[in-house]
Amino acid sequence: MSEKKAYELKTDVCVIGAGHAGCEAALACARLGLETVIFTMNVESIAMMPCNPHIGGSSKGHLVREIDALGGEMGKNIDKTFIQSKMLNVSKGPAVHSLRTQADKAAYSREMRKVLESQEHLTIRQAEVTEILTGTDDQEGRPCVTGVRIHTGTVYCCRAVIICTGTYLNARCLVGESITETGPSGMQRSTYLTDSLNGLGIPLRRFKTGTPARMDGRSLDYSKMQIQEGDREVIPFSYSTDPRDVQIEQVPCYLTYTNEETHEIIRENIDRSPIYAGIIEGTGPRYCPSIEDKVVKFAEKTRHQVFIEPEGRDTNEVYVDGMSSSMPDDVQWRMYRTVPGLENCVIVKNAYAIEYDCINANLLRLTLETRAVDGLFCAGQFNGSSGYEEAAAQGLIAGINAAMKILGKEPLILHRSEAYIGVLIDDLVTKNNREPYRMMTSRAEYRLLLRQDNADLRLRRYGYRVGLITQEQYDHVCEKERLINEEICRLKSIRIGAARENQEYLKSVGSAELSTAATLAALLCRPELDYEKLAGLDPDRPDLPKEVTSQVEISIKYEGYIERQQKQVEQFEKLENKKIPPNINYDDVGSLRLEARQKLKEFLPISIGQASRLSGVTPADISVLLIYLEKNRV
């Protein structure tokens, strides 16, 4: 370090990166009253969407709802800036309904920047953070964060740092043989932080992802594609958005397909793909395969879907969803032009693969704080996830927990049984992930309880506890819960007799006649009936808002399944609630197998439940651990 004392500024929290994770993290800290500085390589790239133009989708829509229920910003921001909205899987059960919107990328970024700029206690700073500064904790002698240094040498002293570098750290972009050392979409990459973290004993690893080409929409022939419209009635993401405000004019997407000719061009040139040529060292995601991956791995498929999606209202640029690639430029031109409607396409931005440094989230606590350094938090793609929604969710939780730590309050750890966010973070921190992690409904064991329609009922109280949800918002959800329970009781207690007029009514709504008296709840269980249709049998029903009656309907219709999952959750929670003290010495626990001992020492699980999910820890080890804990209980 230089002899001269660096120029020093003081703040509470430093957030490195202003992508989707960074924005949520910084807003959470500032809203909880902490002085917060958010660093970005370029102010123009705040909340940038460098890959696809959607927010939400299967299971990701759940994350956005949960972020909103906890007091995050993503849902509100997309409600202001979407250009198409669709509820997916509406013909399926309520657990897998999922909202997906097309975003106006520029508007999304601009609106989020406005939110940051108008947030009290929050400062935006364009700078590359080059070093995490640490000291030693007074009480325990552990390393702890003291601040960050930026490229100019200036030091920001702080009590917590949240790293949200996304795909920028030591990034390189590949288009066939052409490699550029840049972040996404040609943005300047960051480089110094890797060394700084390594110096703190935190190793990094390398992941890869990719994105398809952007084209000039004027060059496409949409008459050869199928039009894809949004829903007629749009449901907003945010609980605070007035549904009337989102009934806007929407922009369509288009569907077309690859064909054997496309696949042939790819097969002929496969040795020029940097992945197949072995140039890319990072691990890529399987759920978002490049078109060359699809052609190689699913050789039997003769075509793949391609969605043409607008990048915004005020741009010609369109996104070619389903054809991400890292093929050389000439191959890209030829393969894209084989697709119906894309024969004369003009590429604005090439498809490319991007490699970047990230952390193995196994090094983190469930609070998203590193185990190596106190006060150092990580979130988003830097943690080995992928997707804007996954990033935002982690950003929010890291922000909340950094704030809770500084404020001396209890951290927020959501269980797998409470939220997709809980599943996301538990998976990242506890499991062995070898590729960028994407949320999927199949990862959630208790998804029937974790619906997108009840995120507020599940999570508002946590948002309220940490201070991001107002008393009024919280009271609203409590009242909603009361009305739901009351109405369920009422429907279960009112019996409908087999009188003629009732039978007639049932017939008129296409349902079977009653053989004996039944409760309204029992009738509601009939697949062909819903709450609205029961109105004719239920003249004295209270006037309830749709958000209440739809919850009532789901609770009653799927009661059997919900009860079964609730029972499973009860069992699950018992182990989650058996805490393992942080100062446990696993060497003192006799009878533990060596492998289990090593895993437990490495991961330091907070509960028996988390411990039981570590690979290499067997049920016998858990028994031993349980007995040890009981024995040492004071």
């Binding site: 897998v96 199949s442 399944y561 182990l575 197998r593 049920p619 028994s623």
Partner: protein, 474 residues
């Protein structure tokens, strides 16, 4: 691993003592036992029984008496485990004991892990540290042992079959999940019908495995053998000869053996699990009648019947009655369950008034086939030929070489039952017209249950399967 489940196990060693205790411990112990137990007065409200009391009654399955038992009720915290505990004293022998345990396990109770009662005793503060630590060693050694034996048992056809079942189920879940994840790329049109056929096939195979396993477990314990005959034909003497011990009370008074006695005997390579029954005859003695009813029931479950006749006297109506009972219980059995008979003309030392032809005629008139031998239980003469006939019968492979695969124990069978139950629920959901996402919830439970049979956790199988089989686009 659910520390607070209600658990059950046979608390006494599974010996041939014929008497054993099944212990149920945990929050739902009373509730579970109430489903199975009735006092003669018809009471089953076990939670209302006074603590530390013992009750006489019956274990029932579908209204039918499985065993007469003594039931001990202990209320938390005054029990070994400090939890609500019920102990069922069975005395119907090893087979009945296992049967009762199986019934208990179907009432929402899971089989206790090795040492788990003791673990709970410790967690409840009932026993001290030194004892708990001894148990801790036991737990790790036993689970290691259990693991090894499980692996050994499974290194064969059964694990292959369970794996095949799991693979089929996982494929379906992965397909459903892919379609839910990427609805614009995968269509589920017509899928429920297809899944229904798959589930029906799965269920049939699982049920077949469950049945085979029940049989297989018995085979391992011994072939269910019943000694039958009219009173005082020499049934108990035969049992004692086979077992080589004086066990049944043998007198010359007909009807001495009122209870069922169960014994294990090894004949050549074959293990027999022998029930000596009270003589089957018309009686007005109520207690004797209970014994006779049981004898008939034992016949229903028998795989081998040793029919004993007194050849020093002419065959009587009573002999015919017994053979008829055997014939009745043999009726309607599947080939796999076929009953094998050996007709023994006893008391050969007292002069043969019954010829082999007489016996053949007796059996044929009831539509039964049998092997025939003559011997004397008193002198032991002819017993060699009994042994060789049994050995031959079973070496010929009617049972032993049936080549069936079976699950090794009650825990595995229970897991298979749970899996079958989950598949049935899937079929129910299909019939009710629920959407596909519900199917995968039940199928996942089936997949998990099957996993516990072969000791495989779920981990990230599903995600792997989705990625390897289905091309997710968006």
């Amino acid at each position: 691993m659910n520390a607070q489940d209600t658990i059950a196990a046979i608390a006494t060693g599974a010996s041939d003592a014929g008497i054993g205790i099944i212990r149920i411990s945990g929050e739902h112990a009373f509730e579970a036992a109430s489903k199975l137990f009735r006092t003669p007065g018809g009471r089953s409200d076990i939670s209302n029984f006074a603590p530390n009391t013992i009750h006489f009654g019956y274990i029932l399955e579908n209204g039918e008496v499985i065993d007469e038992v003594l039931l001990t009720v202990m209320k938390a915290p005054h029990s070994y485990t400090t939890e609500d505990t019920v102990e069922i004293n069975t005395h119907g022998g090893v087979y009945v004991m296992n049967r009762v345990l199986e019934l208990v396990l179907r009432c929402g109770v899971r089989l206790a892990e090795p040492g788990e009662f003791t673990k709970r005793a410790f967690l409840g503060g009932r026993i001290d540290l030194s004892r708990a630590e001894a148990v801790m060693d036991l737990i790790s050694s036993q689970s290691e042992f259990a693991r090894k034996t499980a692996v050994a048992q499974l290194e064969g056809a059964i694990s292959a079959r369970v794996r095949a079942l799991r693979e089929k189920i996982l494929y379906e879940i992965a397909f459903i999940e892919s379609a839910l994840d990427d609805p614009e790329n995968f269509s589920l049109d017509g899928y429920p019908e297809k899944l229904k056929a798959t589930c029906e096939a799965l269920l049939a195979e699982m049920n077949e495995l469950i049945l085979a396993s029940r049989r297989g477990q018995t085979l391992k314990r011994g072939i269910r053998t019943v000694i039958a005959g009219k009173p005082n034909a020499g049934k108990s003497s035969l049992l004692n000869r086979l077992v080589g011990r004086e066990r049944a009370i043998v007198t010359e008074i007909a009807g001495t053996t009122r209870d069922l006695l169960e014994e294990t005997a090894r004949i050549g390579n074959v293990q027999l699990c022998i029930t000596d029954t009270a003589g089957i005859h018309e009686t007005s003695d109520r207690i004797e009648q209970i014994g006779i009813d049981r004898a008939v029931r034992a016949l229903h479950e028998a795989e081998l019947v040793l029919f004993v006749a007194d050849s020093s006297e002419e065959l009587t109506e009573e002999d015919r009655l017994v053979v008829r009972k055997i014939a009745q219980t043999a009726e309607g059995r599947s080939e796999a369950d076929r009953i094998r008979c050996i007709a023994i003309r006893n008391k050969s030392d007292l002069g043969e008034k019954v010829s082999e032809q007489d016996m053949i005629r007796l059996f044929e008139s009831e539509g039964l086939k049998a092997e025939h031998i003559s011997c004397s239980m008193t002198t032991g003469e002819g017993l060699d030929s009994l042994e060789s006939t049994i050995s031959e019968l079973f070496r010929l492979g009617e049972i032993l070489e049936r080549n069936e695969v079976f699950l090794a124990n009650a825990r595995q069978t229970q897991a298979m039952c749970e899996a079958a139950e989950a598949v049935s629920l899937t079929l129910e959901s299909i019939d009710q017209g629920l959407s596909e996402d519900f199917y995968s919830i039940d199928l996942m439970n089936a997949y998990r249950s099957l996993g516990t049979i072969i000791g495989e956790a779920v981990e990230d199988d599903l995600v792997e399967e989705i990625f390897s089989n289905f091309c997710l686009g968006k």
